[in-house]
């Protein structure tokens, strides 16, 4: 990460949140966070391409798109939030793989897998939605939500125990 970019983003976020808190800025805090993330993501992607760090490129692309999702989610009335999460995860991951292909065009595998995920995200909005994917998603999501804390804690503990391996 570019330290100066992180610093400037944090200061803008902090100042913006203070203005929202004081009532000067009539904005949703999540939209502001989305804007800052999107701006930081795109600037850091450019910086990472110049530095040549792949993990930074991927992380910046993910942050940029997460920012866009936050802006969209809070700007429009979206009834099915779970559906949005599913589509976003698929699209963001696909975009991250595509950006890896842009970084190294010899690696066609990232192009194919990125496209596969983006096509799946489009299908999940159209064809798969008609089949009843979102209803199924709701049932599985409800079940997943109950066990999510336990799953996360177990995953966390397992990484912590194996941190020196």
């Amino acid at each position: 990460m570019n330290k100066n970019l992180v610093a400037i983003s944090l200061i803008i976020l902090g100042a913006g949140l203070l203005l929202i808190w004081s009532g000067v800025l009539l904005y949703d805090s999540e939209i502001l966070l989305g804007l800052v993330l999107a701006a930081f993501g795109i600037s850091n992607t450019n910086y990472s391409f110049r530095v040549g760090s792949r993990k930074r490129i991927v992380l910046s692309a993910i942050l940029f798109l997460t920012g866009v999702v936050l802006i969209v989610k809070n700007s429009y009335e979206i009834i099915d939030t779970r559906g949005l999460i599913l589509v976003s995860i698929l699209f963001i991951s696909g975009a991250a793989l595509l950006i890896l292909f842009i970084d190294n065009v010899k690696q066609k595998t990232f192009l194919f897998s990125g496209f596969a995920l983006i096509i799946l995200s489009c299908f999940s909005l159209t064809v798969l939605k008609k089949i009843g994917l979102f209803q199924w998603l709701k049932t599985v999501g409800d079940m997943f939500e109950v066990f999510l804390p336990v799953i996360l804690i177990i995953f966390g503990m397992s990484i912590f125990i194996n941190r020196k391996k």
Partner: protein, 232 residues
């Protein structure tokens, strides 16, 4: 000096005793074991405890409210940075970086899991730092963090080794087909954390994420095997 020692030993004369050296443990930020500002590692070095444990405890304290962030920043401002250990080799630096990354990821998983569990049972963290609400404190902390970064108060960090140029499915670091191991090596990140994130995303997308795994597996090559050199 050696001749003097020999003479003293032969004639039984006592050697003058050197003054004992007392090492004073100084509380300072770590210079070479850094995630944000090296505060947790500094406390661990001072107290003789393990750094990873201090880091996870500090992260868990976040559940009690944003005051821990304020405390962290104040300590980071007040404590001096320790000397950077130049004797650390690239392998040792990489091992420290890997352990730090895993500690932070594990701490994040545990804290998010505990947060969801506590919310489910009706508990919530403190809504403020002292008398100030979190909605006011968080922006201040963000600005303080930004100023802290801009004033270059961070400890030194070594740049990691170069990344590989070719992507291969891993032969040595594999669970199923070596895709996660290969991606981790290609990006220079930790493979076990990537595997867990991959598993979570597969669960969240009802298994659709596995399609990408299969596409990568079938369109990429496996890491070439290193054969032992043969004499002609």
């Amino acid at each position: 000096m050696d001749e003097q020692n020999l003479h003293n030993q032969l004639f039984g004369e006592e050697q003058p005793q050197a003054d004992p050296v007392y090492r004073v443990r100084k509380l300072q930020r770590s210079g070479d074991n850094v995630v944000i500002a090296g505060v947790c590692a500094g406390i661990a070095e001072y107290s003789g405890k393990e750094t990873a444990a201090i880091r996870v405890i500090a992260m868990l304290l976040l559940l009690l409210g944003a005051w821990i962030v304020a405390a962290y920043l104040i300590i980071a401002f007040l404590l001096p940075i320790g000397k950077y250990d130049e004797s650390l080799t690239e392998v040792e630096t990489k091992a420290i970086g890997k352990e730090n990354f895993r500690t932070v990821v594990s701490g994040l998983f545990i804290i998010v899991g505990l947060h969801f569990a506590l919310v489910k049972f009706g508990f919530s963290g403190s809504s403020g730092v002292f008398i100030l609400p979190n909605t006011f404190m968080f922006p201040l902390l963000a600005i303080a963090g930004g100023v802290f970064l801009l004033t270059n108060k961070l400890a030194k960090t070594k740049i990691g080794p170069e990344e590989t140029t070719e992507f291969y499915r891993s032969r040595s670091d594999k669970f199923l087909l070596g895709v996660c191991g290969g991606i981790a090596k290609y990006l220079g990140i930790d493979s076990s954390s990537l595997r867990i994130i991959f598993l979570l995303l597969t669960g969240l997308t009802l298994g659709m994420f596995a399609v990408a795994y299969l596409v990568i597996a079938f369109t990429s090559q496996q890491e070439p095997q290193l054969l032992p050199l043969q004499d002609e």
